[in-house]
């Protein structure tokens, strides 16, 4: 009874790409309805650009890599140093640009790692239930009883300095939030009739989770991810502020703020600008996250 059908693959691919283009256009249209989320999107793209190319955009790129200029200590903002200079005579504007790399990439890495671990844990806990659920979620609860920053500080201190260690330390306290979110979504999706129908036709738990449940729950995960990047950036800065994490001379916003604290209020520019950078990063990811929620969550759509 097996016959091979000639399939017009070109036509099929064309139809699929048209559908995809329409979906993007619709999403963008919905996002445009809220101007704040467009502001968030633009700011995030700008921040990513700075993080990727900040070193070559900086007026004093060598300051980012650690050179100092003692003759230029504590100069206020001027045409040559837009954000003034710090206690080592380094250009604050260059350092803020250079600091974007660590802050943003560490923030993104934390959220990606936490979302990956949390999604896997939450998905299996929710779908398999029983003792798997019990063990995994109690583990998540255990993490939630510890303040995230304290845990991150302890782990970072134990692992030693370094960007990678800092990312691991923060992620360790971050995944339970994703695990709980995903578990809840999976619990409601696993009761769908199409899940029963798929099981009735021979699908196993991995295929059901991967093909039938996860695609249905990516939206809340993406929204949480974009909202969380801002807070992750803040946490990275907090670790820098208390002196754990990235070591000088690599510029990092939190650590810049911490050093500048000693020179307030006279040399205010050394603190204001890295602080504003942190503020801007958190704000733009929050705006983007809110915008994405409007696009992706049909229930909150107006």
């Amino acid at each position: 009874m097996m016959t091979t059908l000639p399939l017009d693959t070109a036509e099929l691919a064309q139809g699929a790409s048209r559908a995809r283009r329409d979906a993007w256009r619709r999403a963008f249209y919905r996002m445009r309805q809220s101007s704040l989320s467009i502001v968030g999107l633009v700011l995030v793209l700008l921040l990513l650009l700075v993080a990727a190319a900040g070193n070559s955009m900086a007026p004093f790129p060598d300051h980012i890599t650690g050179s100092i200029d003692t003759a230029m200590r504590f100069k206020p903002p001027s045409w040559s140093n837009w954000m003034g200079t710090n206690e080592l005579g380094q250009d604050v504007f260059s350092l803020v640009l250079g600091g974007a790399r660590i802050s943003l990439f560490a923030g993104l890495a934390v959220v990606l790692l936490a979302a990956a671990v949390g999604t896997i844990v939450g998905a299996f806990a929710g779908y398999l239930g029983g003792w798997t659920d019990e063990v995994l979620m109690r583990l998540a609860d255990l993490k939630l009883t510890l303040p995230g920053l304290i845990l991150a500080m302890a782990v970072a201190a134990a692992l030693g300095a370094g960007t990678l260690n800092m990312v691991i330390a923060i992620s360790l306290g971050w995944w339970p939030g994703f695990a709980r979110l995903v578990r809840g979504e999976v619990l409601s999706r696993r009761e769908e009739v199409y899940v029963l129908a798929a099981r009735a036709l021979g699908a196993g738990p991995v295929r059901i989770l991967w093909r039938h449940i996860l695609p249905n729950i990516v939206s809340p995960v993406i929204v949480k991810m974009s909202l969380d990047v801002g807070f992750a950036v803040l946490t990275v800065a907090s670790l820098g502020f208390v002196g754990i994490g990235v070591k000088p001379p690599t510029p990092e916003w939190g650590q810049m703020l911490s050093t500048a604290r000693g020179f307030l209020p006279d040399y205010w520019w050394t603190a204001i600008f890295p602080g504003a950078a942190i503020f801007l990063a958190v704000l733009s990811f929050n705006l983007l996250g809110d915008g994405l929620r409007d696009v992706l969550d049909p229930k909150s759509r107006r």
Partner: protein, 339 residues
């Protein structure tokens, strides 16, 4: 040896109020090529019986207390999940009621049917027209081809293009066709169809039923059609089993059972069928209500609603008696009921 033999199946379901005895000695034999209708009112256990054959009833809260479900001589109640998964879709397939909730809304129809074929091809590559030891990529392509071919066979026009559409782009009848294609892609030997046409309008019902019976007749697939609609039974079923409160009260060839029903419940069901020409208020109904399954009435569970019930009915569950070849009735008062 029958293809499917449900032998004295007892199932209890835990609930807050106590244990409900949902199935109370279900007895059923299905041979290949037969289309059985499993008829009864809501809550009589017909769906649970169907789900039990595929082992899709969650235990707990359910508990199998007694009995066997022999598929091809093997008791599926003793199989582990892995072995059961191999049977599903390949040996035993299912179709459910509402085609709008049976398909995953975010997956293209072609992908969903190819997924089923792909999984079946893991253990039965011949279904995909492949030999053993075929690479994953080739298996996937063969599964996609077979999926489109199945869609064509169930009458989806322009199937190759429609395979790239999402379920919401199909009408209810077309979606039910897709589900039939998915259920039959593994060339199953038994198809369990749980109210496959209940959500469709009447003209579509007839079309879908005809399609289904054509397809299974060609492949000698046995069907267990769960329905509360005796019209559906009369239309395509070769045999019928009437269930009441977890028990098969009457079974046999459709024509014989529907034309000369012997059990009072079957008679009441048939009397309650609306017919053209009935005046307002003339439609018969059955007094009383479905028994409490947590504290079932003693003896025959239908006795409290039965006009013929006597003290003898409440002593024990009446055994099934053959009144003719293949026609079985579980009633104490058979002698008094004219044939």
């Amino acid at each position: 040896m029958p293809l499917l033999h449900i032998d004295n199946l007892h199932l209890a379901m835990r609930s807050y109020d106590g244990e409900a005895h949902v199935l109370n000695g279900v007895q059923l034999q299905v041979d290949k090529g037969e289309i059985w209708g499993l008829a009864g009112e809501t809550g009589c256990g017909k769906s649970v019986t169907g789900l039990s054959v595929s082992r899709l009833v969650n235990t707990p809260p359910a508990r199998y207390m007694q009995g066997r479900i022999l598929f091809d001589g093997q008791d599926v109640l003793t199989l582990d999940e892995r072995a059961m998964r191999r049977l599903r879709g390949r040996a035993i397939s299912m179709i459910f009621q509402d085609p709008s909730t049976n398909l995953n809304p975010v997956l293209r129809v072609g992908e969903q049917i190819a997924d089923v074929a792909f999984e079946i091809g893991r253990h039965a590559p011949q279904v995909l027209g492949l030999g053993p030891q075929t690479g994953l990529g080739e298996r996937r392509r063969a599964a996609e081809r077979l999926g489109v071919e199945m869609l064509e066979r169930v009458g989806i026009p322009d199937a190759a293009r429609r395979a790239h559409d999402y379920p919401h782009q199909f009408s209810g009848g077309m979606r039910q066709r897709v589900l039939i294609a998915m259920a039959l892609v593994g060339q199953p030997r038994l198809l369990i169809a749980d109210e496959p046409t209940t959500a469709l309008d009447v003209t579509l019902q007839a079309q879908i039923l005809r399609l289904l019976s054509d397809l299974v007749k060609r492949s000698d697939t046995a069907v267990l059609m769960i329905t509360h609609n005796l019209g559906v039974v009369a239309q395509i079923c070769s045999h019928v089993a009437v269930m009441y409160a977890g028990h098969v009260v009457e079974s046999g060839r459709t024509r014989e059972v529907l034309q000369s029903p012997r059990h009072p419940y079957t008679r009441a069901l048939l009397a309650a069928l609306p017919r053209p020409g009935l005046q307002r208020g003339q439609l018969a109904n059955l007094a009383g209500r479905v028994p409490d399954l947590i504290h079932p009435p003693p003896g025959c569970r239908f006795a409290p609603r039965c006009a013929r019930a006597t003290a003898a009915c409440t002593v024990a569950t009446p055994p099934s008696v053959a009144v003719s070849d293949q026609h079985q009735v579980a009633c104490v008062h058979l002698d008094e009921v004219p044939a």
